[in-house]
């Protein structure tokens, strides 16, 4: 049911302010519904008067349902909430289903930050995040929000956070967002530094995941990130990559990513340039031909001294 205001007693005192679209030939003009045009007219009228009231809350909700990207309607709503003293829990209760309807909207998350920050409690947020991820397990905003929560409420060292991340990786080992979140907890929570001991634990964890799905790039990227944070050389992985790719047995390759790393390891070794070139050739011609240009470019770099790709 569309909602109108002109015949609503509660709005009888307001003269709507119609949109001035700037002359005869506006650009990107939209065929607005009567409902939207009218609601926007009432919104401009109450905004112009800086009215903060219960009816304003309803009106902002109505506008948000049609145009959630309206950036100042969110700020206006936040002001209204604080002016009329609406309980923040009520706002979150309203926000939950609204967020599910507009999963890719930026403003909604900004608003949630503001409310949760003021509320000072993350109670119920984990459940909310789970319901969002059930609909879209890689939603960028949801994962960013989770990171914000971890930082705001200092959850880096809570074992539950790592366990939850592990369960997300378990349910989809190709979910790069989950791998990135793991990196955030393990490395980000330690300001980018990592002990060798913790690095070994993470390397073991990641190797097990790679053995499940060797052609999945997410854990390969992750393991290289861990090595770098722990200041370990790529060659640490040499034996492991050889499980999946051996340039001497070009028919027995299980992962292009293993070949890629092996090419780097060989390039850094003395007298292994030929093997590096062989790995890159295999990638270009057989195991990853959609990136042939890139592998050939990398091969060209082998001849240049002191440049490691």
């Amino acid at each position: 049911m569309p909602k109108f205001y002109h015949d609503d007693e509660a709005w009888a005192d307001i003269a709507p302010l119609p949109q001035d679209d700037g002359g005869l030939h506006p650009l990107a003009a939209i065929s607005y519904s009567d409902e939207y045009s009218e609601a926007m007219g009432y919104l401009r009228a109450v905004m112009a008067k800086n009215e903060y009231s219960d009816r304003v809350l309803g009106l902002t909700e109505h506008i948000i349902s049609m145009n959630p990207a309206h950036y100042t309607v969110w700020l206006y709503r936040a002001n209204t909430i604080s002016e009329i003293g609406r309980p923040l829990q009520d706002e979150i209760a309203w926000l939950n289903p609204t967020a599910l309807k507009h999963m890719k909207n930026y403003q909604i998350w900004h608003h949630r930050h503001t409310i949760i920050d003021a509320l000072g409690s993350a109670d119920g947020e984990a459940e909310f995040i789970s319901s969002m991820l059930e609909k879209d397990s890689k939603n960028y905003h949801v994962w960013s929000y989770r990171q914000w929560l971890v930082k705001r409420f200092d959850l880096f060292d809570k074992p539950e956070e790592l366990e939850w991340t592990h369960s997300m990786i378990e349910s989809d080992v190709r979910n790069n967002s989950a791998w990135n979140h793991r990196y955030y907890i393990v490395v980000g929570g330690r300001e980018g530094k990592l002990s060798v001991e913790l690095a070994k634990q993470e390397i073991g964890y990641t190797q097990a995941a790679i053995r499940k799905a060797p052609q999945n790039q997410s854990p390969w990227n992750y393991i290289l990130g861990i090595l770098r944070a722990a200041e370990l050389p790529k060659s640490t992985l040499k034996d492991f990559t050889c499980e999946f790719a051996d340039v001497q047995r070009p028919e027995e390759v299980y992962s292009s990513h293993a070949l890629d790393i092996l090419a780097d390891i060989y390039a850094e070794e003395e007298n292994s340039k030929e093997n590096a070139a062989k790995a890159l050739e295999l990638l270009a011609t057989k195991y990853d031909p959609i990136r042939a240009n890139y592998w050939n470019y990398r091969k060209g770099l082998l001849d240049q001294p002191n440049i490691a790709a």
Partner: protein, 446 residues
């Protein structure tokens, strides 16, 4: 690649013209209401697409062109800067107390300036000084830019590189790449911005929304384009090193991430998000192409998937691009991934032909425009970015483009030729300026 099928890949120029003319001349459908606050972006896409198609002059009478220019100026707020739509304008009721609900807006200003440039306006009515002063206030201490400025000086909006991209583009449009104070207006903190971009570099070489967020094509492109506008991309080996802070910090790693965006997972049916599978097979992992021998890591499921041997059903003819690791291809990511490659001078490390073919054969729509994924109806956003990529690849019949600015090279030249900008950026030497001034005087006398 079979030559016969190559010939079928064709940009349907006439249909694209028709699609964009319809967007210019008629109301956009009601479902664009959720983009009402992004109208200036849609405006730029519409006029710039027609400019790329070489149809803008034919599409507009002089009067219509002037009316469009006037519409853009009607979105300039009194304090300087633009709102991205008329929707927040209070008209005569606007005052000191309510102007906070109608603020200048970074994307609104970016898209308004570009729309004016595409329409070949001279920007003389733009409150340039006020915009540059506002830009400084839009930067936060850690270097990022936001969307709008609150009445208390608080910078609203995300901290990611989108706003940094647009803010640095506005700066480039209005004062070129001069660093430091310009005609008494202080500069943004360029070093701090570069630091902020570097902090958002991810372990895999992409750039994310914020430190330790996931690498993402859109943020990577925005960050690298911003560095280009600021002249802060890494120097090439032949250039003399300076002590200026630059980004990205590890070009080889970023190139690796960018080329990894090429994918054969062209739609959801290609089944990349495989839950609960234990082993890659040629069917569960589409970037695996021709291989994956199952020997060592075989599971019951993997075995039944591959029936014991790998089979080849991958098409290398069409290559898509995604925005994040293990995601499906999407038209707009051809833009977000190829532009940074071009800005880093390495577009040659992707094969443009199969990407072009994917866009033309799979996401180009028969009514004109491009959709998001195979078979989707067109929308302005994907239609514009798809066209921009095809133009950037040098498609015959399209104007050359500056993809980071989203405009044709001709429009960019027009901007660079404006006399106020030439004076400001030192493009005029004293003699040229003397001639210009003399000519102007003569004109007045005549």
């Amino acid at each position: 690649m079979a030559p016969a099928s190559f010939e079928t890949s064709r940009l349907n120029h006439a249909r694209h013209v028709k699609y964009w003319r319809r967007n210019l001349k008629t109301l956009l459908p009601q479902y664009y209401t959720s983009n009402d606050s992004n109208r200036m972006l849609l405006a730029l896409f519409t006029v710039s697409a027609l400019d790329i198609l070489g149809d803008l002059d034919a599409a507009l009478s002089a009067e219509e062109r002037q009316d469009h220019i006037d519409w853009v100026y009607s979105c300039q707020v009194p304090e300087g800067g633009f709102r991205p739509w008329p929707g927040s304008d209070f008209g005569k009721l606007r005052n000191q107390e309510n102007k906070k609900w109608d603020p200048a807006h970074i994307p609104g200003t970016f898209f308004a300036l570009l729309t004016l440039v595409v329409l070949r306006d001279d920007l003389q009515k733009v409150k340039r000084r006020e915009i540059l002063e506002w830009l400084v206030k839009m930067q936060r201490p850690e270097g990022s830019f936001g969307e709008t400025l609150g009445s208390d000086g608080f910078v609203h909006g995300g901290h990611d590189s989108r706003f940094g991209y647009m803010a640095t583009a506005i700066r480039w449009i209005l004062r070129g790449n001069l660093e430091g104070s310009c005609e008494g207006v202080p500069d943004i903190d360029v070093d701090q911005f570069v630091t902020c971009v570097r902090a958002a570099e991810c372990y895999d070489g992409g750039i994310s929304e914020a430190p330790f967020s996931e690498a993402h094509g859109g943020f990577t492109c925005c960050a690298i384009a911003a560095l280009a506008f600021l002249d802060r991309l890494p120097l090439s080996p032949s250039q003399k090193p300076d002590r200026v802070i630059r980004g990205v910090s590890d070009v080889p790693k970023t190139l690796h991430w960018l080329v990894s965006r090429q994918t054969l997972t062209l739609d959801e049916d290609d089944g990349l998000d495989t839950y609960n599978d234990e082993t890659d097979s040629s069917e569960t992992c589409h970037d695996a192409h021709t291989f994956v021998k199952m020997g060592a890591y075989q599971s019951v499921q993997g075995n039944s998937n591959s029936k014991g041997r790998p089979h080849i059903h991958y098409e290398l003819e069409w290559v898509g691009m995604n925005g994040r690791c293990n995601k499906v291809a999407d038209t707009c990511y051809a833009y977000w991934s190829c532009v940074p490659l071009q800005l880093l001078g390495r577009l040659d490390i992707v094969d443009r032909q199969p990407i072009r073919k994917w866009l033309l054969d799979k996401t180009q729509h028969m009514v004109g425009g491009f959709g998001k994924v195979t078979g989707d109806p067109p929308d302005l956003y994907h239609s514009f970015l798809g066209l921009l990529v095809i133009a950037m690849f040098g498609e015959p019949g399209l104007e050359g483009v500056d993809p980071a600015l989203c405009i044709t090279n001709k429009a960019k030249k027009h901007l660079e030729s404006l006399s106020w900008r030439r004076r400001l950026t030192g493009m005029d030497d004293a003699q040229d300026e003397g001639i210009t001034l003399a000519a102007e005087r003569m004109h007045i006398q005549a």
